[in-house]
Symmetry: C2
Subunit: 443 residues, 2 copies
């Protein structure tokens, strides 16, 4: 019989243990932090009716979505993000669940885009949101969650950049160009690359504003200094006192900084940056981006913002909300590049290997292993009676940190040998002392 | 603008928190137990080339699989189980990973079958396997994992039924009807329903065996009594000493019982049952089924067995293995019916709600909440300044167990009120004592 070549589909990949162990750890960490703030888990189907998922259609999503006819000739599509399914979910379930509603969701999404370096057609999203309230307490909490998340991920060197669209929108209204936000922000995006003067030229050309108007936008968005400096300069970029919208934006940012400080977020972790402007058509208030200060070039690894209404496609119930999304795949790629300790472990989730000398001892091997497991230590029992050398090679290759050794002599003496694989040190201890000895070796 | 009806696709469902919190707990429990035995996590894509996933085709899977043309006009299909992708994965990765290789995998699979009571077109599988060894140590371990898994799931009343196909195969060979296993087992399946005599009649008719041959099959498969009785009767169903195949089956079952006993598996949890025979064409050695003794009617919730060669479609490398799969959705349905404590909690993953009296205190609310979170207690801060009654109603509806209350009077006095929501008891304690008081209230 001819063999089938065991290839994956273009743009897709397997997760062997070396990738999967860190991914599970990152997801589990995010899950624990989200839960610790009271966000509840939800899940939605991978497949939805195309009409429900794509709405009126005509957007970018139509081009990238995996769409086909199912067994009942229904027009169906695979989810391309977790936001649209959450909107549909909210329309169905929030009437029973009540408001505010805090949820997280983690799972794969699929996009038939051109794959590339580190970009796949299947990737995980990891979102959390609070909907049903406009309270700034929820906006502030998003920043706290991001901060605690990166602490828990053992990545302390992060900068959470925060903006509020109300500030820019207030300024644009005050200078009579409220409808120009999108082209202006597109030009602003090039600031780092082409400098202030050329951005003003572009704004004049692309957004049909005057050079003076463009200058005011830059005074606001490109303000530098401490967080307080930036907010003071932003305020000063208005002719006279800022209008109500801008005041609201300023007040929300100042409250965020004050609460984060009182709540104990490490100094310098939150940075006001009035130039960030993601989700131009979607986010309307606070905006978040998160950069690794040791690897800023990879871009934001956790981003989000406040939106006015989640589910207008599906319900008349107005559901304002705020949330963010951890870029799991990008983060893991960064952790690999940074040689993060989570990426350099072995490919076994258990730390201890019990060597197998004789199948007559198997019950005792498993008995001692089960005692260690009950103490929270993962223990594998080598399944075959093989040369000791081969079993040690297996232990080294997989990354076991401790080997437990007991053959005829040890059983006769009532002892076990506990071997620290890294130090190559071995000690004989009575069986009752094995757990303590193993725990000590594992630190 | 007309609204889109926010419906799910037929046969699919949302997981709101009330379903998702138990599902996450079950998956996390399975993950922890699998890992504690040294099974490593892997994942494979949801989409594969149809040719790779369906092999030569022509089977049941062709009918139920979701299959379509992707953006590159490739013939692709959604995975319908985790076994076929594991076979493909093993062909690719085991040469690097080495043998034996122990893996678990958890994720959704999709089948376009007729949905029904508790049956969906999207459901989760949760598999673990050891491949690359024929050692009975790995077979035995599967039973230990299942036992520890149900202990960890807080479902002690389970019966793990174990069989070994070598026994029946040995008997059939010895009486000259080795090729009749499949029809004989189909008839045997009706034993409980129609009784011994009618099963013999059916075997004679359907499998073209003699009544005497059928009687021997029943002597073996329907043996009752203690585990030792059953194995003794099985041995006695042979004319003279059993052949090598049957002796191997008997020895493996006896070793499994002995090791499980020494290793400390609770008495009576493992039950030899020579009538179970799942995966007729696939499993070749040990077979496992797991029944909830309080709800046997729902069938097996964790099943598996030993197979001779996992990946023959993809590689010439022979990969024997053994494993089992937890039926997550069936188990959760059973837990609901059994009113399992995990199913009766609230729909918040956090246990503590901090009431919000005034936004000026928000930093302090979050400061105290973060201290509790660092101590492992989930804490939600209510985002809006609302009537106390409304906040308590929210706490009750979501299932918070403790409320923390601090307004102007409390901040002036340096105390917090800690309210046990179930007991409706409230105590004022100094801020430093809040964590201890909360931990005590949560038990």
């Amino acid at each position: 019989m001819s063999l089938i070549e065991p290839r994956t589909l273009q743009g897709f990949r397997d997760y062997p243990p070396a990738l999967m162990i860190p991914r599970e750890r990152v997801l589990q960490t995010a899950r624990a932090v989200y839960r610790s703030y009271g966000y509840s888990p939800i899940d939605t189907p991978a497949l939805e009716l195309a009409e429900v998922l794509l709405g009126k259609g005509g957007g970018e999503n139509d081009r990238i979505v995996y769409r086909f006819k199912d067994h009942g000739d229904r027009d169906v599509a695979m989810r391309f993000d977790l936001t649209v399914p959450f909107a549909r979910f909210a329309a169905v379930h929030v009437p029973q669940l009540g408001k505010p509603f805090k949820r997280y969701a983690m799972g794969p999404v699929w996009r038939g885009e051109r794959p590339g370096q580190g970009r796949y057609r299947e990737f995980w999203q990891c979102d959390f949101d609070t909907i049903g309230t406009t309270s700034n307490a929820s906006d502030i909490e998003v920043a706290l969650v991001i901060s605690d998340l990166f602490t828990a991920l053992e990545i302390p060197n992060v900068q959470i950049r925060v903006n509020n669209r109300l500030l820019l929108n207030g300024l644009l209204e005050s200078i009579g160009v409220a409808d120009k936000a999108v082209p202006l922000l597109r030009c602003l995006d090039k600031l780092a690359k082409i400098g202030r003067d050329k951005v003003i030229d572009e704004m004049v050309k692309e957004a049909a504003v005057t050079a003076e108007q463009a200058g005011k936008v830059l005074d606001l968005c490109a303000a530098t200094g401490t967080n307080d400096d930036i907010l003071a300069k932003a305020e000063a970029s208005f002719d006279g006192p800022p209008n109500e919208k801008a005041r609201e934006g300023l007040a929300r940012l100042r409250e965020l900084l004050a609460v984060a400080q009182t709540a104990g977020v490490p100094d310098g972790r939150i940075r006001i940056d009035l130039s960030i402007a993601r989700g131009l058509d979607y986010y309307t208030g606070t905006i978040y981006e998160t950069f690794l200060t040791d690897l800023p070039g990879i871009g934001s690894v956790c981003s989000g913002g406040r939106y006015d209404n989640l589910a207008s496609l599906y319900t008349k119930d107005v559901l304002p909300g705020v949330g963010a999304s951890l870029g799991v795949d990008r983060l893991i790629a960064a952790m690999e590049e940074l040689k993060h300790p989570w990426m350099t472990g072995g490919i076994t989730p258990a730390q201890v290997l019990v060597l197998n000398f004789d199948s007559q001892y198997l019950g005792h091997y498993q008995r001692v292993a089960r005692a260690l497991r009950a103490a929270g230590v993962g223990v594998e029992v080598y399944p075959e009676v093989k040369r000791v050398k081969a079993q040690f090679e297996y232990a080294d290759k997989r990354g076991f940190r401790v080997a437990l050794i007991a053959g005829g002599d040890e059983f006769a003496a009532g002892v076990w040998k506990v071997k620290d694989m890294a130090k190559r040190e071995e000690a004989s201890v009575p069986e009752a002392d094995v757990p303590a000895k193993v725990l000590a070796a594992l630190g």
